[in-house]
């Protein structure tokens, strides 16, 4: 019987891990340093990983811990994208009703880390809310409200008008905040 070394699975997760890092830090070289750091940490701590459980969530957790602890240490030297891209943003989107990807990127980079992170996990990487909550060590309702606030902010930044108002989501979000806090 060949028991697959979980370490061999690591490489499969690297493209997603790196994509997460790049979109979280918004800087490729910082992202790569963080990914390297996360790989080394994961490697040293593989005995703490239970084979068969969610390796992706485990790796993302290591990576985001690296990010948030370095963020606390160095009070962010990354240029504030808001000023740089302000001109671009003042333009209304899409003459043809489609959203330019660049414009989206610029707007997305302006979101607070926590909102960006929530959207990256549930919106982009296809994490379930449960997985995302586990990865970030917070309640499911917290992830939901971060993601919703992020979506709302993007709607504003991109001048998208919303026919069916986002306030609609608030009661259900609140319900989850109230009911879901003990879920994990």
């Amino acid at each position: 019987m060949t028991q697959l070394d979980p370490r061999d699975e690591l490489i499969e997760h690297l493209p997603t891990l790196r994509a997460f890092a790049m979109n979280l830090t918004r800087d490729a070289s910082t992202a790569d340093d963080m990914v390297q750091d996360a790989i080394e940490k994961a490697w040293r701590n593989f005995d703490k990983y239970t084979p068969g459980t969610n390796m992706r969530a485990w790796l993302f957790t290591i990576l985001r811990n690296t990010y948030y602890s370095s963020r606390r240490k160095t009070k962010r030297e990354v240029a504030d994208p808001e000023g740089v891209f302000a001109d671009k943003m003042s333009e209304k989107p899409a003459h043809d009703g489609r959203l330019q990807l660049d414009e989206f990127r610029v707007a997305f980079a302006q979101l607070p880390d926590e909102q960006r992170e929530a959207l990256l996990l549930v919106g982009a990487s296809g994490f379930s809310y449960e997985e995302a909550a586990e990865t970030c060590g917070v309640a499911i309702g917290t992830i939901k409200s971060r993601a919703n606030r992020g979506r709302k902010r993007l709607t504003e930044l991109l001048h998208l008008s919303d026919d069916d108002p986002l306030e609609m989501t608030d009661p259900s979000t609140m319900a989850v905040v109230v009911n879901g806090s003990g879920a994990f």
């Binding site: 790989i39 080394e40 989206f104 959207l119 809310y129 069916d164 989501t169 259900s172």
Partner: protein, 52 residues
């Protein structure tokens, strides 16, 4: 899970763009430093007697 409310058009647009932006990063080629790093980690592990 409950299917929540129906997403509006602009929310769909946001979700699509989010996925596209992320996928572009995923599709980027992995820098060699990571393959090198894994190779290095693997070879050093033999020395401290970790069973293979």
């Amino acid at each position: 899970m409950a299917s929540e409310q129906k997403p509006s058009k602009s929310q769909e647009l946001i979700e699509q763009n989010l996925k596209r932006v992320f996928q572009e990063s995923v599709d980027e080629e992995l820098p060699d430093r990571f393959k090198d790093l894994l190779a290095r980690l693997k070879s050093s592990e033999g020395q401290d007697g970790t069973p293979k």
